[in-house]
């Protein structure tokens, strides 16, 4: 029964194998969306299990922790699994209509599910080295996806993406080595158990800083984010949306996992550092977004700006703040992916991503305008859509804990976000079509299948806002579990006692 925990990894794996054997594009059209639909159901079921038991753990191959690899799902993992499965499903549907002819669907879905497998593996694993391996699985798939079109720009963006992410992986591996050298274990729960009552635990800082840099590169925080805006606008919009929704958020997830579970010795220093980094990430990302006029670039800088909020929640480090960070991550994954999907639609309808070249879309396609306004309002934090509650929780936690500076920065960055969203709205939807080469082109009507993904994500964003009470309940559970990981440790190390 409990072995269902391995399924989030096994299902994508089986899908990859079947795609490799079948090799047919026609069948891939069905395998892709249906396989991702299956993942949604599966992660929903896992979430129900977590609600029932609190934390569930599976010892792989029957080796008791800390000797074997443990798969663990707690509230945080379960919530991330559910949200990422929803995004994976909507992108799988979106890919059917938006991938260019040159990219074979079958090939795309092989690496798409490769990324999914790495992602799910990273969410469920309870072992540091195993996490590294899942990161690499995810990275390899993303390397292939980002260069799939093989144009000059994509290869150039690919080189930049690859260079910094590989360096990040090396930091990660070096951190794993030092961690093992000091503690003799790589099981996360066992690490937490060992470091809890150790008077030399302050020595862990040297390892922690290596992980900090590694996860900082993955999550694109302030001084380490330059690979993101240099590469995210190059691949096909389907692939950009996939990356925007999922990749950086795994970095945030590992940040939250590591710095709540076992790197909790030198709290003063780490939380101060996290808050400073968070503040700079928010401001620099938001300012850079304000300077650009290409939708994908604006939205790429936006990803960075919003990562700051998630790190801010971790830096404040109260159950409410962690709950806020998780709520924000969930809301942001949905809304961010959705804005990218809409920018892909604008491109399909008008043939460009440049805001200066388009206009008057609100009249031509009111549905597209509505679809844009939902995630844009969500990101800007206007009630009753999800983003308002996410920001509200974070700001409330900041004020309660006395972190006034970061709270003020967060509020001001909200203005910047609103500004860039209004900019896209005004330029693309409200202003009249400028007189240029695109003016003569007819508006390309989109079909329902092309609207579906965005409608789906928008509906979930709104539902998340309306039922914020329940969602907040779940994230609060997650926050409490993370601040006091006794249940996590006991569930994993049952055999050791």
């Amino acid at each position: 029964m409990i072995s269902i925990l391995a399924l989030p990894i096994l299902v994508p794996f089986i899908l990859i194998i079947s795609l490799l054997i079948i090799k047919s594009d026609k069948l891939a059209r069905w395998i892709g969306p249906m396989g991702s639909g299956l993942l949604v159901l599966l992660s929903g079921y896992l979430f129900m299990l977590v609600r029932e038991h609190g934390v569930i753990a599976l010892q792989m191959g029957g080796w008791e922790a800390p000797f074997g690899i443990t798969l663990v799902v707690d509230y945080l993992s379960a919530l991330m699994l559910v949200v990422s499965a929803i995004i994976i499903f909507s992108i799988a549907v979106y890919a059917l209509r938006f991938l260019p002819e040159t990219i074979k669907l079958n090939r795309f879905f092989v690496f798409f599910f490769g990324l999914t497998m790495g992602l799910n593996g990273a969410f469920v694993t309870g072992d540091v080295f195993n996490l590294f391996v899942w990161f690499e699985v995810m990275l390899m798939s993303s390397f292939v996806l980002i260069t799939l079109g093989q144009t000059k720009h994509q290869l150039e963006g690919g080189i930049k993406y690859l260079a910094l992410n590989i360096v990040g992986s090396m930091f990660f591996l070096a951190g794993v080595g030092l961690l093992y050298g000091k503690t003799g274990t790589l099981n996360m729960a066992h690490l937490a158990e060992i470091l809890k009552n150790d008077d030399q635990a302050i020595l862990m800082n040297t390892s922690a800083v290596l992980f900090f840099v590694a996860f900082g590169i993955k999550a694109a925080v302030f001084p380490l984010y330059f690979w993101l805006p240099a590469s995210y606008h190059t691949p096909n919009i389907t692939i950009t949306s996939l990356f925007a929704g999922l990749l950086t958020k795994v970095g945030v997830y590992t940040f939250i996992r590591f710095f709540t579970l076992f790197f909790v010795q030198d709290q003063q220093f780490w939380h101060q550092l996290l808050l400073i980094v968070a503040g700079f990430t928010m401001v620099t990302g938001g300012m850079a977004a304000a300077a650009h006029y290409e939708t994908r670039r604006i939205l790429s800088y936006h990803i960075i700006s919003q990562i700051g909020y998630m790190i801010m929640g971790l830096g404040i480090f109260t159950p409410l703040a962690i709950a806020g960070a998780i709520f924000f991550t969930m809301h942001n994954m949905l809304a961010k992916t959705n804005t990218f999907l809409v920018s892909g639609m604008i491109n399909k309808a008008r043939g460009t991503f440049e805001l200066r070249d388009v206009g008057g879309l609100a009249k031509q396609s009111p549905l597209m305008a509505v679809l844009f306004i939902i995630p844009a309002f969500a990101l800007a934090g206007i009630p009753p859509i999800s983003g308002f509650f996410a920001k509200f929780i974070l700001i409330k936690a900041g004020i309660e804990n006395g972190n006034y500076i970061i709270t003020a920065v967060a509020v001001l960055t909200g203005m910047l976000t609103l500004y860039s969203m209004i900019k896209i709205w005004n330029e693309a939807f409200m202003k009249p079509q400028p007189d240029n080469e695109y003016a003569g082109k007819p508006f390309q009507k989109l079909r329902f299948a092309e609207y579906f993904s965005s409608l789906f994500l928008g509906a979930i964003s709104i539902l998340m806002g309306i039922f914020a009470y329940y969602v907040f309940g779940f994230t609060m559970e997650a926050g409490t579990q993370l601040i006091d990981p006794t249940l996590y440790i006991e569930t994993v190390l049952k055999g050791l006692k």
């Binding site: 690499e136 390397f143 690919g158 080595g177 050298g181």
Partner: protein
């Protein structure tokens, strides 16, 4: 023995960083190989070296202090394979990029910034 290997790790990291900061993409890839080998050695060293005895337990039992810890060796084995895959992909990417643009100069890669 450990001190020598520690120096080797340091030298490899230095050489790797130096090569990575050069303008040629090929040198960047060589730097990548150096750094990934340095990291592998670092992980290998993390358990401490026990010269002259393999990571096997004798039938009468062996104390933990006298045998080498096999876990980091297993980790390094995995890391080497992953590193190989990454280097091969990077080389293929570099080849494709060179075919399209005819340049090996990292300073020419400015089109996706700003």
């Amino acid at each position: 023995m450990e001190i020598i290997l520690a120096i080797v790790v340091g030298v490899l990291y230095t050489a790797g960083v130096y090569l990575m900061l050069r303008r040629s993409i090929l040198k960047f890839i060589i730097g990548l190989i150096f750094m990934s080998n340095a990291t592998n050695l670092l992980v290998f060293l993390s358990a401490g070296l026990v010269p002259g005895s393999p990571a096997f337990v004798k039938s009468e039992g062996t104390g933990a202090g006298v045998m080498a810890d096999p876990l980091p060796q297993a980790l390094v084995l995995t890391a080497i394979v992953i590193g190989l895959g990454i280097v091969v992909f990077t080389l293929a990417l570099k080849y494709k990029f060179f075919e399209l643009t005819g340049t090996d100069d990292l300073d020419q890669l400015k089109k996706t910034d700003d």
